[in-house]
Amino acid sequence: MYSDMVMDHFKNPRNVGSLTDADGIGTEGNPVCGDIMKIYIKVQGNRITDVKFQTFGCGAAIATSSMVTEMVKGKTLEEAMVISNKAVAEALGGLPATKMHCSNLAADALHRAIEDYQAKQKVA
Protein backbone atom coordinates (compact mmCIF):
# COMPACT_ATOMS: atom_id res chain seq x y z
CA MET A 1 0.00 0.00 0.00
CA TYR A 2 2.69 2.49 1.05
CA SER A 3 6.17 3.04 -0.41
CA ASP A 4 9.24 2.22 1.69
CA MET A 5 9.90 5.93 2.13
CA VAL A 6 6.39 6.57 3.46
CA MET A 7 6.84 3.73 5.92
CA ASP A 8 10.24 5.08 6.95
CA HIS A 9 8.79 8.53 7.68
CA PHE A 10 5.84 6.93 9.47
CA LYS A 11 8.07 4.74 11.62
CA ASN A 12 10.68 7.41 12.30
CA PRO A 13 8.96 10.75 11.84
CA ARG A 14 11.33 13.72 11.66
CA ASN A 15 10.77 16.93 13.62
CA VAL A 16 7.81 15.79 15.74
CA GLY A 17 6.65 18.19 18.42
CA SER A 18 5.88 21.86 18.92
CA LEU A 19 7.92 25.07 19.18
CA THR A 20 7.01 27.13 22.23
CA ASP A 21 8.59 30.22 20.63
CA ALA A 22 7.20 29.60 17.13
CA ASP A 23 7.03 32.59 14.77
CA GLY A 24 4.17 31.03 12.84
CA ILE A 25 1.69 28.19 13.41
CA GLY A 26 -0.52 26.65 10.72
CA THR A 27 -3.26 24.04 10.92
CA GLU A 28 -4.96 22.17 8.09
CA GLY A 29 -7.64 19.45 7.99
CA ASN A 30 -10.29 18.66 10.56
CA PRO A 31 -11.04 15.82 12.95
CA VAL A 32 -14.21 14.82 11.10
CA CYS A 33 -12.10 13.86 8.06
CA GLY A 34 -9.67 12.07 10.32
CA ASP A 35 -6.61 14.17 9.55
CA ILE A 36 -5.23 17.29 11.23
CA MET A 37 -1.76 18.67 10.63
CA LYS A 38 -0.24 21.44 12.72
CA ILE A 39 3.06 22.99 11.65
CA TYR A 40 5.25 25.30 13.75
CA ILE A 41 7.97 27.43 12.13
CA LYS A 42 10.81 29.55 13.41
CA VAL A 43 11.90 32.30 10.97
CA GLN A 44 15.15 34.27 10.89
CA GLY A 45 15.95 36.75 8.11
CA ASN A 46 13.29 35.38 5.75
CA ARG A 47 14.52 31.79 6.21
CA ILE A 48 12.83 28.92 8.05
CA THR A 49 15.42 27.93 10.63
CA ASP A 50 13.38 25.40 12.56
CA VAL A 51 10.17 23.50 11.99
CA LYS A 52 8.10 20.99 13.97
CA PHE A 53 4.82 19.17 13.39
CA GLN A 54 1.98 17.51 15.24
CA THR A 55 -0.38 15.28 13.28
CA PHE A 56 -3.52 13.29 13.98
CA GLY A 57 -4.09 10.95 11.08
CA CYS A 58 -3.21 7.89 9.09
CA GLY A 59 0.19 6.70 7.86
CA ALA A 60 0.11 9.06 4.88
CA ALA A 61 -0.81 12.06 7.03
CA ILE A 62 2.11 11.46 9.39
CA ALA A 63 4.60 10.70 6.60
CA THR A 64 3.70 13.79 4.54
CA SER A 65 3.98 15.98 7.64
CA SER A 66 7.39 14.55 8.43
CA MET A 67 8.54 14.94 4.82
CA VAL A 68 7.44 18.56 4.49
CA THR A 69 9.41 19.52 7.60
CA GLU A 70 12.54 17.99 6.03
CA MET A 71 11.94 19.73 2.71
CA VAL A 72 11.43 23.18 4.16
CA LYS A 73 14.20 23.55 6.73
CA GLY A 74 16.63 26.27 5.64
CA LYS A 75 14.41 27.41 2.77
CA THR A 76 13.34 31.02 2.23
CA LEU A 77 9.66 31.81 2.77
CA GLU A 78 9.20 32.24 -0.99
CA GLU A 79 10.74 28.84 -1.69
CA ALA A 80 8.59 27.28 1.04
CA MET A 81 5.38 28.81 -0.33
CA VAL A 82 5.80 27.00 -3.67
CA ILE A 83 6.19 23.54 -2.14
CA SER A 84 2.95 21.78 -3.08
CA ASN A 85 1.14 18.81 -1.58
CA LYS A 86 1.91 17.01 -4.83
CA ALA A 87 5.64 17.70 -4.47
CA VAL A 88 5.56 16.28 -0.94
CA ALA A 89 3.83 13.12 -2.18
CA GLU A 90 6.37 12.80 -5.00
CA ALA A 91 9.26 13.21 -2.57
CA LEU A 92 7.83 10.23 -0.69
CA GLY A 93 7.80 8.10 -3.81
CA GLY A 94 4.06 8.57 -4.31
CA LEU A 95 0.93 7.89 -2.25
CA PRO A 96 -2.05 5.60 -2.84
CA ALA A 97 -4.74 7.40 -4.89
CA THR A 98 -7.24 7.42 -2.03
CA LYS A 99 -4.73 9.23 0.18
CA MET A 100 -3.89 12.03 -2.25
CA HIS A 101 -6.76 14.28 -1.17
CA CYS A 102 -7.69 13.46 2.40
CA SER A 103 -4.27 12.88 3.93
CA ASN A 104 -1.94 14.96 1.80
CA LEU A 105 -2.33 18.41 3.37
CA ALA A 106 1.04 18.98 5.01
CA ALA A 107 2.21 21.61 2.50
CA ASP A 108 -1.07 23.49 3.04
CA ALA A 109 -0.45 23.47 6.80
CA LEU A 110 3.05 24.83 6.15
CA HIS A 111 1.62 27.63 3.99
CA ARG A 112 -0.85 28.49 6.79
CA ALA A 113 2.12 28.75 9.19
CA ILE A 114 3.97 31.11 6.82
CA GLU A 115 0.83 33.23 6.40
CA ASP A 116 0.47 33.33 10.19
CA TYR A 117 4.06 34.55 10.46
CA GLN A 118 3.53 37.21 7.77
CA ALA A 119 0.31 38.43 9.40
CA LYS A 120 2.13 38.82 12.71
CA GLN A 121 4.90 40.80 11.00
CA LYS A 122 2.37 43.29 9.63
CA VAL A 123 0.88 43.88 13.07
CA ALA A 124 4.35 44.36 14.56
Binding site: P31, C33, G34, M37, T55, F56, G57, C58
Partner: protein
Protein backbone atom coordinates in the same frame (compact mmCIF):
# COMPACT_ATOMS: atom_id res chain seq x y z
CA UNK B 1 8.75 -9.62 11.88
CA UNK B 2 8.09 -12.66 14.05
CA UNK B 3 5.10 -14.95 14.09
CA UNK B 4 1.84 -13.59 12.70
CA UNK B 5 -0.80 -12.90 15.34
CA UNK B 6 -4.04 -12.96 13.39
CA UNK B 7 -6.88 -11.11 15.09
CA UNK B 8 -9.07 -10.27 12.09
CA UNK B 9 -11.32 -13.33 11.85
CA UNK B 10 -14.34 -11.15 11.09
CA UNK B 11 -12.58 -10.11 7.86
CA UNK B 12 -11.77 -13.67 6.85
CA UNK B 13 -10.59 -16.95 8.32
CA UNK B 14 -7.97 -19.38 7.05
CA UNK B 15 -9.32 -22.51 5.38
CA UNK B 16 -9.24 -25.22 8.06
CA UNK B 17 -6.91 -28.13 7.13
CA UNK B 18 -9.84 -30.58 7.34
CA UNK B 19 -11.88 -28.34 5.04
CA UNK B 20 -9.04 -28.12 2.53
CA UNK B 21 -8.63 -31.89 2.64
CA UNK B 22 -12.33 -32.34 1.88
CA UNK B 23 -12.15 -29.90 -1.05
CA UNK B 24 -8.98 -31.08 -2.76
CA UNK B 25 -10.32 -34.12 -4.68
CA UNK B 26 -12.92 -31.92 -6.40
CA UNK B 27 -10.37 -29.69 -8.14
CA UNK B 28 -8.82 -32.36 -10.35
CA UNK B 29 -9.59 -36.03 -9.60
CA UNK B 30 -13.37 -35.53 -9.27
CA UNK B 31 -13.69 -32.53 -11.57
CA UNK B 32 -16.94 -33.48 -13.28
CA UNK B 33 -19.80 -31.08 -13.98
CA UNK B 34 -22.68 -32.11 -11.68
CA UNK B 35 -25.15 -31.64 -14.54
CA UNK B 36 -23.59 -34.37 -16.71
CA UNK B 37 -24.71 -38.00 -16.74
CA UNK B 38 -21.56 -40.14 -16.46
CA UNK B 39 -20.11 -41.54 -13.24
CA UNK B 40 -17.44 -38.84 -12.84
CA UNK B 41 -20.09 -36.13 -12.97
CA UNK B 42 -22.43 -37.99 -10.69
CA UNK B 43 -19.72 -38.10 -8.04
CA UNK B 44 -19.67 -34.33 -8.16
CA UNK B 45 -23.49 -34.21 -8.04
CA UNK B 46 -23.43 -36.49 -5.01
CA UNK B 47 -20.86 -34.25 -3.31
CA UNK B 48 -22.99 -31.14 -3.88
CA UNK B 49 -26.16 -32.78 -2.59
CA UNK B 50 -24.38 -34.23 0.45
CA UNK B 51 -23.06 -30.75 1.17
CA UNK B 52 -26.58 -29.34 0.83
CA UNK B 53 -27.89 -31.86 3.35
CA UNK B 54 -25.07 -31.06 5.79
CA UNK B 55 -25.76 -27.31 5.58
CA UNK B 56 -29.50 -27.93 5.97
CA UNK B 57 -28.84 -29.93 9.14
CA UNK B 58 -27.02 -27.02 10.73
CA UNK B 59 -29.80 -24.62 9.74
CA UNK B 60 -32.59 -27.03 10.71
CA UNK B 61 -34.04 -26.72 7.22
CA UNK B 62 -34.69 -29.07 4.33
CA UNK B 63 -31.91 -29.43 1.73
CA UNK B 64 -34.07 -27.94 -1.03
CA UNK B 65 -34.23 -24.65 0.89
CA UNK B 66 -30.45 -24.21 0.53
CA UNK B 67 -29.00 -22.26 -2.43
CA UNK B 68 -25.24 -22.24 -2.95
CA UNK B 69 -23.80 -19.10 -4.53
CA UNK B 70 -20.73 -16.84 -4.60
CA UNK B 71 -20.82 -15.51 -1.02
CA UNK B 72 -22.44 -13.26 1.54
CA UNK B 73 -22.80 -10.26 -0.73
CA UNK B 74 -24.62 -12.29 -3.38
CA UNK B 75 -26.83 -13.85 -0.70
CA UNK B 76 -27.83 -10.43 0.66
CA UNK B 77 -28.40 -9.01 -2.82
CA UNK B 78 -30.49 -11.97 -3.91
CA UNK B 79 -32.53 -12.19 -0.70
CA UNK B 80 -33.53 -8.54 -0.79
CA UNK B 81 -34.11 -8.18 -4.52
CA UNK B 82 -35.84 -11.56 -4.83
CA UNK B 83 -38.45 -10.68 -2.21
CA UNK B 84 -38.83 -7.02 -3.14
CA UNK B 85 -39.55 -7.76 -6.80
CA UNK B 86 -41.55 -10.93 -6.24
CA UNK B 87 -43.90 -9.01 -3.90
CA UNK B 88 -43.92 -5.75 -5.83
CA UNK B 89 -47.66 -5.96 -6.48
CA UNK B 90 -48.38 -6.31 -2.76
CA UNK B 91 -46.15 -3.51 -1.55
CA UNK B 92 -42.92 -1.62 -1.99
CA UNK B 93 -41.70 -0.99 1.55
CA UNK B 94 -38.53 -2.50 3.03
CA UNK B 95 -37.34 -2.21 6.63
CA UNK B 96 -33.70 -2.58 7.61
CA UNK B 97 -31.29 -1.01 10.11
CA UNK B 98 -28.57 1.62 9.91
CA UNK B 99 -25.87 -0.82 11.10
CA UNK B 100 -26.25 -3.44 8.35
CA UNK B 101 -23.34 -4.52 6.19
CA UNK B 102 -22.92 -2.55 2.97
CA UNK B 103 -24.13 -5.59 1.04
CA UNK B 104 -27.56 -4.95 2.56
CA UNK B 105 -27.47 -1.14 2.80
CA UNK B 106 -26.33 -0.59 -0.77
CA UNK B 107 -28.81 -3.12 -2.13
CA UNK B 108 -31.65 -1.30 -0.37
CA UNK B 109 -30.33 2.07 -1.60
CA UNK B 110 -30.31 0.67 -5.14
CA UNK B 111 -33.93 -0.43 -4.73
CA UNK B 112 -34.86 3.03 -3.46
CA UNK B 113 -33.56 4.44 -6.75
CA UNK B 114 -35.86 1.99 -8.53
CA UNK B 115 -38.88 3.33 -6.67
CA UNK B 116 -39.02 1.22 -3.52
CA UNK B 117 -39.47 2.84 -0.10
CA UNK B 118 -37.14 2.00 2.74
CA UNK B 119 -36.98 2.59 6.49
CA UNK B 120 -33.55 2.46 8.11
CA UNK B 121 -34.11 1.79 11.80
CA UNK B 122 -31.80 3.42 14.32
CA UNK B 123 -29.86 1.52 16.99
CA UNK B 124 -29.10 2.32 20.62
CA UNK B 125 -25.62 3.18 21.89
CA UNK B 126 -24.77 -0.53 22.03
CA UNK B 127 -25.83 -1.13 18.44
CA UNK B 128 -29.11 -2.89 19.25
CA UNK B 129 -32.23 -2.66 17.10
CA UNK B 130 -35.39 -2.33 19.20
CA UNK B 131 -37.97 -4.95 18.07
CA UNK B 132 -40.75 -2.49 18.87
CA UNK B 133 -39.22 -0.05 16.35
CA UNK B 134 -39.57 -2.78 13.73
CA UNK B 135 -43.24 -3.19 14.66
CA UNK B 136 -43.86 0.54 14.48
CA UNK B 137 -42.17 0.82 11.08
CA UNK B 138 -44.35 -1.87 9.46
CA UNK B 139 -46.98 -0.50 7.11
CA UNK B 140 -49.49 -2.28 4.90
CA UNK B 141 -46.95 -1.87 2.10
CA UNK B 142 -44.11 -3.65 3.92
CA UNK B 143 -42.97 -6.84 2.22
CA UNK B 144 -39.51 -7.37 3.67
CA UNK B 145 -37.55 -6.84 6.88
CA UNK B 146 -33.77 -7.40 6.83
CA UNK B 147 -31.85 -7.24 10.11
CA UNK B 148 -28.43 -8.77 10.70
CA UNK B 149 -27.88 -11.57 13.20
CA UNK B 150 -24.67 -10.06 14.57
CA UNK B 151 -22.77 -6.93 13.67
CA UNK B 152 -19.45 -7.34 11.88
CA UNK B 153 -17.79 -4.28 13.40
CA UNK B 154 -18.84 -4.26 17.04
CA UNK B 155 -20.17 -7.81 17.48
CA UNK B 156 -23.58 -6.81 18.86
CA UNK B 157 -26.08 -9.67 18.57
CA UNK B 158 -29.48 -8.48 17.37
CA UNK B 159 -32.68 -9.88 18.91
CA UNK B 160 -33.70 -11.73 15.74
CA UNK B 161 -36.20 -14.15 17.35
CA UNK B 162 -37.94 -11.26 19.12
CA UNK B 163 -38.08 -9.24 15.91
CA UNK B 164 -39.58 -12.26 14.12
CA UNK B 165 -42.36 -12.41 16.72
CA UNK B 166 -43.10 -8.71 16.33
CA UNK B 167 -43.26 -9.05 12.56
CA UNK B 168 -45.61 -12.01 12.80
CA UNK B 169 -47.90 -10.16 15.21
CA UNK B 170 -47.98 -6.98 13.12
CA UNK B 171 -48.36 -8.74 9.78
CA UNK B 172 -51.83 -10.00 10.73
CA UNK B 173 -51.70 -12.88 8.30
CA UNK B 174 -50.12 -10.81 5.54
CA UNK B 175 -46.81 -12.13 4.20
CA UNK B 176 -43.83 -10.09 5.36
CA UNK B 177 -40.57 -11.91 4.64
CA UNK B 178 -37.83 -11.70 7.27
CA UNK B 179 -34.21 -11.92 6.11
CA UNK B 180 -31.15 -12.03 8.34
CA UNK B 181 -27.56 -11.51 7.28
CA UNK B 182 -26.02 -14.19 9.52
CA UNK B 183 -22.56 -13.94 7.95
CA UNK B 184 -20.86 -12.83 11.14
CA UNK B 185 -22.80 -15.10 13.48
CA UNK B 186 -21.79 -18.44 11.96
CA UNK B 187 -19.52 -20.46 14.21
CA UNK B 188 -20.69 -18.64 17.32
CA UNK B 189 -24.50 -18.48 17.25
CA UNK B 190 -27.34 -20.95 16.73
CA UNK B 191 -28.32 -20.75 13.06
CA UNK B 192 -31.55 -22.74 13.36
CA UNK B 193 -33.92 -20.90 11.05
CA UNK B 194 -37.06 -21.91 12.95
CA UNK B 195 -35.69 -20.78 16.29
CA UNK B 196 -34.62 -17.51 14.68
CA UNK B 197 -37.96 -17.25 12.90
CA UNK B 198 -36.45 -16.12 9.60
CA UNK B 199 -37.52 -16.75 6.01
CA UNK B 200 -34.15 -16.01 4.42
CA UNK B 201 -30.63 -16.24 5.83
CA UNK B 202 -27.22 -15.34 4.34
CA UNK B 203 -23.91 -17.08 5.05
CA UNK B 204 -20.38 -16.65 3.71
CA UNK B 205 -18.05 -19.64 3.84
CA UNK B 206 -14.79 -17.78 4.39
CA UNK B 207 -16.02 -16.48 7.73
CA UNK B 208 -16.20 -20.00 9.17
CA UNK B 209 -12.90 -21.53 8.02
CA UNK B 210 -14.25 -22.32 4.55
CA UNK B 211 -13.07 -21.00 1.18
CA UNK B 212 -13.64 -17.52 -0.27
CA UNK B 213 -16.01 -16.98 -3.18
CA UNK B 214 -18.79 -19.25 -1.97
CA UNK B 215 -21.82 -18.75 0.25
CA UNK B 216 -25.26 -19.92 1.20
CA UNK B 217 -28.71 -18.43 0.94
CA UNK B 218 -31.48 -20.17 2.86
CA UNK B 219 -34.94 -19.52 1.39
CA UNK B 220 -37.95 -20.84 3.29
CA UNK B 221 -40.08 -23.11 1.13
CA UNK B 222 -43.22 -21.45 -0.17
CA UNK B 223 -41.88 -17.95 0.45
CA UNK B 224 -41.66 -15.26 -2.21
CA UNK B 225 -38.63 -15.51 -4.49
CA UNK B 226 -37.53 -14.26 -7.88
CA UNK B 227 -34.50 -15.62 -9.72
CA UNK B 228 -31.75 -13.07 -10.40
CA UNK B 229 -29.13 -15.08 -12.20
CA UNK B 230 -30.62 -16.75 -15.26
CA UNK B 231 -29.20 -19.58 -17.34
CA UNK B 232 -29.09 -23.28 -16.56
CA UNK B 233 -31.43 -25.00 -14.14
CA UNK B 234 -28.94 -25.32 -11.29
CA UNK B 235 -30.10 -24.77 -7.70
CA UNK B 236 -33.72 -25.53 -8.69
CA UNK B 237 -33.75 -22.68 -11.19
CA UNK B 238 -32.95 -20.16 -8.48
CA UNK B 239 -29.27 -19.57 -9.30
CA UNK B 240 -27.92 -20.50 -12.70
CA UNK B 241 -24.30 -21.45 -13.32
CA UNK B 242 -22.17 -24.54 -12.94
CA UNK B 243 -21.77 -25.31 -9.25
CA UNK B 244 -18.51 -24.41 -7.50
CA UNK B 245 -18.12 -28.02 -6.40
CA UNK B 246 -14.93 -27.74 -4.30
CA UNK B 247 -16.24 -24.52 -2.76
CA UNK B 248 -19.60 -26.10 -1.90
CA UNK B 249 -17.89 -29.15 -0.39
CA UNK B 250 -15.67 -26.78 1.62
CA UNK B 251 -18.68 -24.76 2.75
CA UNK B 252 -20.40 -27.82 4.18
CA UNK B 253 -17.22 -29.13 5.78
CA UNK B 254 -16.50 -25.73 7.32
CA UNK B 255 -20.03 -25.19 8.61
CA UNK B 256 -20.26 -28.70 10.04
CA UNK B 257 -16.94 -28.26 11.81
CA UNK B 258 -17.94 -24.79 13.05
CA UNK B 259 -21.18 -26.19 14.46
CA UNK B 260 -19.36 -29.05 16.20
CA UNK B 261 -16.82 -26.61 17.65
CA UNK B 262 -19.34 -23.90 18.49
CA UNK B 263 -19.40 -24.39 22.24
CA UNK B 264 -15.61 -24.75 22.46
CA UNK B 265 -15.18 -21.72 20.18
CA UNK B 266 -17.41 -19.55 22.35
CA UNK B 267 -15.75 -20.67 25.57
CA UNK B 268 -12.22 -20.20 24.22
CA UNK B 269 -12.83 -16.89 22.46
CA UNK B 270 -14.96 -15.23 25.14
CA UNK B 271 -12.27 -15.87 27.77
CA UNK B 272 -9.64 -14.28 25.51
CA UNK B 273 -12.00 -11.47 24.53
CA UNK B 274 -12.72 -10.56 28.14
CA UNK B 275 -9.02 -10.65 28.99
CA UNK B 276 -8.31 -8.36 26.04
CA UNK B 277 -11.08 -5.93 27.00
CA UNK B 278 -9.89 -5.70 30.60
CA UNK B 279 -6.28 -5.21 29.49
CA UNK B 280 -6.89 -2.70 26.71
CA UNK B 281 -9.34 -0.48 28.58
CA UNK B 282 -6.61 0.25 31.12
CA UNK B 283 -5.38 2.68 28.46
CA UNK B 284 -6.56 6.16 29.33
CA UNK B 285 -9.49 7.45 27.24
CA UNK B 286 -10.12 4.11 25.56
CA UNK B 287 -13.65 2.79 25.12
CA UNK B 288 -15.27 -0.54 24.24
CA UNK B 289 -17.77 -0.40 21.38
CA UNK B 290 -20.78 -2.69 21.09
CA UNK B 291 -22.93 -4.37 23.70
CA UNK B 292 -21.42 -5.29 27.09
CA UNK B 293 -23.02 -8.79 27.11
CA UNK B 294 -25.03 -9.31 23.91
CA UNK B 295 -21.89 -9.56 21.78
CA UNK B 296 -20.10 -12.19 19.73
CA UNK B 297 -17.67 -14.27 21.76
CA UNK B 298 -14.80 -13.34 19.46
CA UNK B 299 -15.28 -9.58 19.06
CA UNK B 300 -13.33 -7.02 21.08
CA UNK B 301 -13.70 -3.56 19.56
CA UNK B 302 -12.51 -0.24 20.89
CA UNK B 303 -11.79 3.35 20.11
CA UNK B 304 -8.99 5.52 21.39
CA UNK B 305 -9.39 9.27 21.56
CA UNK B 306 -6.88 11.57 19.77
CA UNK B 307 -5.37 8.86 17.55
CA UNK B 308 -6.30 7.51 14.16
CA UNK B 309 -7.02 3.83 13.55
CA UNK B 310 -4.83 3.19 10.52
CA UNK B 311 -1.79 4.49 12.38
CA UNK B 312 -2.52 2.03 15.18
CA UNK B 313 -2.98 -0.82 12.67
CA UNK B 314 0.33 -0.05 10.92
CA UNK B 315 2.13 -0.05 14.26
CA UNK B 316 0.47 -3.34 15.22
CA UNK B 317 1.52 -4.77 11.86
CA UNK B 318 5.15 -3.89 12.65
CA UNK B 319 4.76 -6.29 15.60
CA UNK B 320 3.12 -8.94 13.41
CA UNK B 321 -0.42 -8.27 14.64
CA UNK B 322 -3.28 -8.20 12.10
CA UNK B 323 -6.39 -6.24 13.16
CA UNK B 324 -8.82 -3.79 11.54
CA UNK B 325 -10.39 -0.36 12.01
CA UNK B 326 -13.53 1.59 11.12
CA UNK B 327 -11.46 4.66 10.30
CA UNK B 328 -12.14 6.38 6.99
CA UNK B 329 -8.45 6.00 6.24
CA UNK B 330 -8.79 2.24 6.04
CA UNK B 331 -11.52 2.40 3.42
CA UNK B 332 -11.87 4.01 0.02
CA UNK B 333 -14.55 6.37 1.32
CA UNK B 334 -13.83 9.48 3.36
CA UNK B 335 -16.40 8.58 5.98
CA UNK B 336 -15.61 6.71 9.16
CA UNK B 337 -17.65 3.66 10.13
CA UNK B 338 -21.42 4.15 9.73
CA UNK B 339 -21.88 1.58 12.49
CA UNK B 340 -19.93 3.54 15.09
CA UNK B 341 -21.40 6.93 14.20
CA UNK B 342 -24.95 5.57 14.29
CA UNK B 343 -24.25 4.23 17.78
CA UNK B 344 -23.39 7.77 18.81
CA UNK B 345 -19.60 7.53 18.74
CA UNK B 346 -18.34 11.03 17.81
CA UNK B 347 -17.03 11.17 14.23
CA UNK B 348 -13.49 12.13 15.27
CA UNK B 349 -13.40 9.24 17.74
CA UNK B 350 -14.71 6.75 15.18
CA UNK B 351 -11.47 7.36 13.27
CA UNK B 352 -9.65 5.93 16.26
CA UNK B 353 -11.44 2.58 16.26
CA UNK B 354 -9.69 -0.77 16.33
CA UNK B 355 -11.35 -4.17 16.07
CA UNK B 356 -9.83 -7.46 17.20
CA UNK B 357 -11.74 -10.59 16.18
CA UNK B 358 -10.51 -13.85 17.61
CA UNK B 359 -10.39 -17.44 16.46
CA UNK B 360 -9.78 -20.90 17.84
CA UNK B 361 -6.06 -20.73 17.10
CA UNK B 362 -5.45 -17.59 19.17
CA UNK B 363 -3.72 -18.01 22.54
CA UNK B 364 -3.56 -16.19 25.85
CA UNK B 365 0.09 -15.35 25.13
CA UNK B 366 -0.98 -13.53 21.98
CA UNK B 367 -3.63 -11.56 23.86
CA UNK B 368 -1.09 -10.64 26.53
CA UNK B 369 1.29 -9.43 23.85
CA UNK B 370 -1.39 -7.09 22.46
CA UNK B 371 -2.10 -5.82 25.97
CA UNK B 372 1.60 -5.14 26.46
CA UNK B 373 2.31 -3.34 23.18
CA UNK B 374 -0.88 -1.35 22.60
CA UNK B 375 -0.40 1.26 25.37
CA UNK B 376 3.01 2.20 23.91
CA UNK B 377 1.59 2.53 20.39
CA UNK B 378 -1.31 4.70 21.53
CA UNK B 379 0.86 6.96 23.70
CA UNK B 380 3.46 7.38 20.94
CA UNK B 381 0.74 8.45 18.49
CA UNK B 382 -0.90 10.68 21.07
CA UNK B 383 2.41 12.40 21.71
CA UNK B 384 2.39 13.23 18.00
CA UNK B 385 -1.26 14.32 17.90
CA UNK B 386 -2.29 17.99 18.04
CA UNK B 387 -5.66 16.95 19.47
CA UNK B 388 -4.34 15.47 22.70
CA UNK B 389 -2.22 18.57 23.33
CA UNK B 390 -5.27 20.81 23.07
CA UNK B 391 -7.80 18.72 24.92
CA UNK B 392 -5.85 17.47 27.90
Amino acid sequence: MGKLIYLDHAATTPVHPKVLEAMLPYFSAKFGNPSSVYTLAQEARQAVETARTQVAEVLGSTPREIIFNSGGTESDNTAIKAVAFAQQKLGNHIITSVVEHHAVLETVHALEKMGFQATFLPVDKHGLVNPDDVGRAITDKTTLVSIMLANNEVGTIEPIADIAKVIKARAKGRKIAFHTDAVQGAGSLDLNVDKLGVDLLSLSSHKFYGPKGVGVLYVRRGGPFMTWQHGGSQERNRRAGTENVPGIVGTAAGLKLAEENREAFNKHCSALRDRLIVGVTKIERSYVTGHPTQRLANNASFYFEFVEGESILLNLDFEGVAASSGSACTSASLEPSHVLTSMGVPVESAHGSVRFTLGLENTQEEIDLIISILPGIVSRLRAMSPLSAEKR
